[in-house]
Symmetry: C2
Subunit: 716 residues, 2 copies
Amino acid sequence: MAPADPADPVAPALAPAPAPGSLDALLRPRTVAVVGASRTRGTIGAELFHNLLVHGFAGAVYPVNPGARVVQAVRAYPTVCDVPEPVDLAVIVVPAARVLAVVDDCVAAKVGAILVISAGFAETGAEGRALQDAVLARVRGAGIRMVGPNCLGLLNADPEVALDATFAPTWPPHGGVAFSSQSGAVGLAILDYARELGIGVHHFVSIGNKADVSGNDLISYWGADDAVKVILLYLESFGNPTRFMQIAGDVSRRKPIVAVKSGRTAAGARAASSHTGSLAGSEVAVDALIAQTGVIRTDTIEELFDAAMLLANQPVPRGHRVAILTNAGGPGIMATDACESRGLVLPELGAATVAALREFLPAEASVKNPVDMIASATPAAYERALPLLLADDAVDAVLVLFVPPVGTLAADVAAAIRRGGAGAAKPVLTCFMGMHGVPAALSSLREGRFPSYAFPEAAAIALARVARYGQWLARGVGTRPALAVDPARARAAIAGHRGWLPPEAVREVLAAYGVAAAASVTAADVDAAVAAARAVGYPVAIKLASATITHKSDVGGVVLDVDDDDRVRAAWAGMGDALDGLGRRAEMDGVVVQPMIPRGVETFVGATRGAGFPPLIGFGTGGTAVELWKDVVFRLHPLTDLDAAEMLDGIRGRALLDGFRGAPAADRAALVDALLRIDRLVGDVPEIVELDLNPLVARPPGGGVIVVDARIRVEA
Amino acid sequence: MAPADPADPVAPALAPAPAPGSLDALLRPRTVAVVGASRTRGTIGAELFHNLLVHGFAGAVYPVNPGARVVQAVRAYPTVCDVPEPVDLAVIVVPAARVLAVVDDCVAAKVGAILVISAGFAETGAEGRALQDAVLARVRGAGIRMVGPNCLGLLNADPEVALDATFAPTWPPHGGVAFSSQSGAVGLAILDYARELGIGVHHFVSIGNKADVSGNDLISYWGADDAVKVILLYLESFGNPTRFMQIAGDVSRRKPIVAVKSGRTAAGARAASSHTGSLAGSEVAVDALIAQTGVIRTDTIEELFDAAMLLANQPVPRGHRVAILTNAGGPGIMATDACESRGLVLPELGAATVAALREFLPAEASVKNPVDMIASATPAAYERALPLLLADDAVDAVLVLFVPPVGTLAADVAAAIRRGGAGAAKPVLTCFMGMHGVPAALSSLREGRFPSYAFPEAAAIALARVARYGQWLARGVGTRPALAVDPARARAAIAGHRGWLPPEAVREVLAAYGVAAAASVTAADVDAAVAAARAVGYPVAIKLASATITHKSDVGGVVLDVDDDDRVRAAWAGMGDALDGLGRRAEMDGVVVQPMIPRGVETFVGATRGAGFPPLIGFGTGGTAVELWKDVVFRLHPLTDLDAAEMLDGIRGRALLDGFRGAPAADRAALVDALLRIDRLVGDVPEIVELDLNPLVARPPGGGVIVVDARIRVEA
């Protein structure tokens, strides 16, 4: 392809000049300069330039290379400033040490955007990071957006643009998928896999070190682009989780986002001493972030594409009920297992459906779900059965399985499924058993409306994930109800404190946010303890007071049902003896005396603040067993009422909340209210880095909740 | 291929005549007759006969068809009796209604074995089952083994035999894998997939309705065949789980068995009222069966082959420590995640390994595990690094990743890996990122020694499963120690009883097996209760006695720490009032008075007998929360000491056994002993169909265990 002539009729078909600072200059440029374009095939600079030339890019491409007059048959220029027309996108493929000078040229030439392929920046250490910071300062100062450094490049497969600014050997088919990858190597595999599966890509961006343009920027950009039907992300880290939460949460309401998050085990978990801290690794925060934003998370790249294939071609199902249509029993059983083990259900079919199936299927066929039409099933049978299942009100999605028996043509069945499923408002997935059973028909199905999988499990997993997204969409956003809280009072209570707050300050902070705590009197000596017990009223609970011992029951520091003065004295003496035995007597500051709390369900509410993430709020079964069972569900601040209600439903021990084995149920409304108040507290008072209410006792419905023990840690 | 001439030099290369009743007549026949062989291509009878002709079968094949003189150019005979030489294998492909008559012919002709492809038997209902039973009676009476009916057929890909008695279009490459499939349709997909992946198959048998030859028969046969390196099973049900446990447990010690068990959710779970019953669905029994036999269970067919590819080509690793070698960071992170989340660990490499890697890798490379040689890595670097990792004592297996950057040939890297990994006693797995990145090199790797996967997760999952098998092999079989038990005494105690045993009988049965139970006196009225409490000694526990109310604490039927006569009377009255309130006063038979038990760890031991399976033994955390947390591990009778110890380690709440948060640890030896005694009891006394010890309190080490509450149900 020759450089574009301004008079060439192709040029006017392009969009107008990209707006300054928008990502259009990166993804819809009219003019591209490649600094470091090379004549030596096999080098990155040559392959990238070659890709720009051969895939039908509608604009002009200029090689910039001071050592060559022509590169790959195109007239070259010594610097980007020498290019004879304004450059929208400058691609930089020179060694790291020369990048800053080239960026200066680009600023001088007023390029629209910069893509830095070159490696040798922050990924290599402090020196590289300094260089990257210098580059970033230059482009930020000039208001120019930059992708990279250290990346594979980007592409726009829209035939009107046909921009391949990558050095990958693969050019994917065009379609509705936009993909951002934090790893160039994974990006290479992704492009290859997309072409293999026939998945149509709209944009692909390898974001590299994401010095400037981040995944968040791209999600936001793609959210507004109607040509993008599905957004796929390969993530290794979150630069700004709070912004991701806002942007992804918003865009997910309009179009699905599917993500693989890698680096789960590499992230260094903060060594924290409290319950919440030890339960909440950064992976927990990532899980919460993804759950709350409606992002569909998959475990592998293959599952990412399995979900994308469904989302790009079929409607999102309204529920979890799936009908299975098959011509063989074994695969039907495999599919049933896979569906049910992933949270999908196989409903009974309606009587009308059963009767209609019975009309044309042989007596040996099973017209229960899964519907097994047996090996003699013809393409016509598929074409007739599929719309019956789709029309059944009990069915939200249909999974069609086909095993090619002797004499039946898979291509005919594929065509029959296409006709039978045409125009349905419910998703249809297909599985042609085996890898290469019907390649041509599979491929035509894939390019058309119906996704196809080699084995039923992959279809079931994809459908289950998409159904959960459908549920998230249907759930709505919830509200953050008005709460009477007093941030100033809470701040006053913590003023001057660092580390774990003393009990009085904890009670004051909770009171400021309307969270009721059991009465509690701290006594520094045994006589004061007796006086406190009389004041509180027998029977009382006596607990060790210590700034350093956090797990009191581990050291004999909790005595319950103390019902007279002598027993108060005995409890005091017993705690002292126990600590003497441990050589920790000096850590006893006294005791805390509380009334015995009425019976209820012991729950746990916690909050912790991790690096970069919004505060993490936890709810679970409480008491001393919280570390044993680790039955805690986490969400990120800010919570809505729906988030809080979901947390209650999300714990394994939720039967306790409903009244387990004859015990009274818990006051769910009061638990939700308490969660929202704690959420508000940690949002309002950023000095609070860690908070545990354990147990928070939930009384029967209408009875409210009461904090029996609480800890709060503050930092400057 | 023409029918074999007795003088043909190929014939003598075959094994001698198959022994009567052995499976050799099925899988190594010298002469095959196809009853129902057809001239009409596309029919099952034609395709199967065609397959026998075209894949180089060393013996003679005769079509049997009364309506044709020649079938596919081979001289046909009207009945199997007319075939001019003894028939080792008769394949029957006629409609179900004619099968019995053909079987009679086969018996008359003294064929060695029968393969019934025809459908229309037990899978269609009672009439078909009767027909199948009639066929079975005929072949059993004649001492002839039969595969089928209702199957895809069988094949032996050994080039010396080259028998394809299936109607599948696929002929797999030869290798060390033997495969049994309970579904013909899945079998079709399996053969296709095996050819696609280049996995070498030795035997494949579609067992259909397994009227005679079962999966167990095949495992036993393949266990003795040195050409079989790996046994693969696609299972939908277990015909004889007890026999499977013996055979598979034995064969697994010699060669790996990998299984997909389908039909997980379809199996009707017995509706049982007790703890064990409600926890132990049949899937739990299947899990236990597979865990105890060392069978490697996978979730999908794809994972089955991923594991088989590793097992067929590489040694079983001695441990869980894996080193990762990569030329790109992202895939390295993906692999690390996948390994660690599946129970593999990435050890620190030895100082010598690190130093040796440092010698030739660039400064930007990471010589920590994962070893990232960065994109510039040459084939020579792979060849040099791989043996260093394999030689490191901290490493049990190596996973090699490769992303093709510009200018590097994947085939060269593949060859380098092959040389670098040659002769290692540790497994090497490879992942060439992307689906079709390097097809030729991948394929040569696959046929050779090194399995290759498209994404790191699949490799990690396969390696984790195989490492667990290695652990099972290393663990040994354990022993069943001699126990002083008295079966006659236990039988006497249950004589005449049906349903739940009365408390005295329960205590007697447990005493006969040396399981200590708390003293316990049943009192039918309140005065008897007071007398019992005095006899037992205050403080006591008072529990409702009722033949019908099984969960006593749910109805206020447990009062603890009762310390004088008045409180005994109050407890009696309170229980009566509570039952009055429920309208169940009539169900109160009295109370059971027990001494208060010293503190300890509350555990649960249960046993239940399910249809067809050996008794299922459960161990878990005890008390009222057993249904809430469902923290129970199951194994099948008979248990060894190692099984019992593994059960203790397998519960989620195992920290309780080690002394949780300052509490004393549990007497593990006594728990193991109690499990073995209960296991012996249910083995010796088959009338016991259900048994719960809950709680079984474990005192500190050396203190033993004591049953506080127990229930036993007996049936005729």
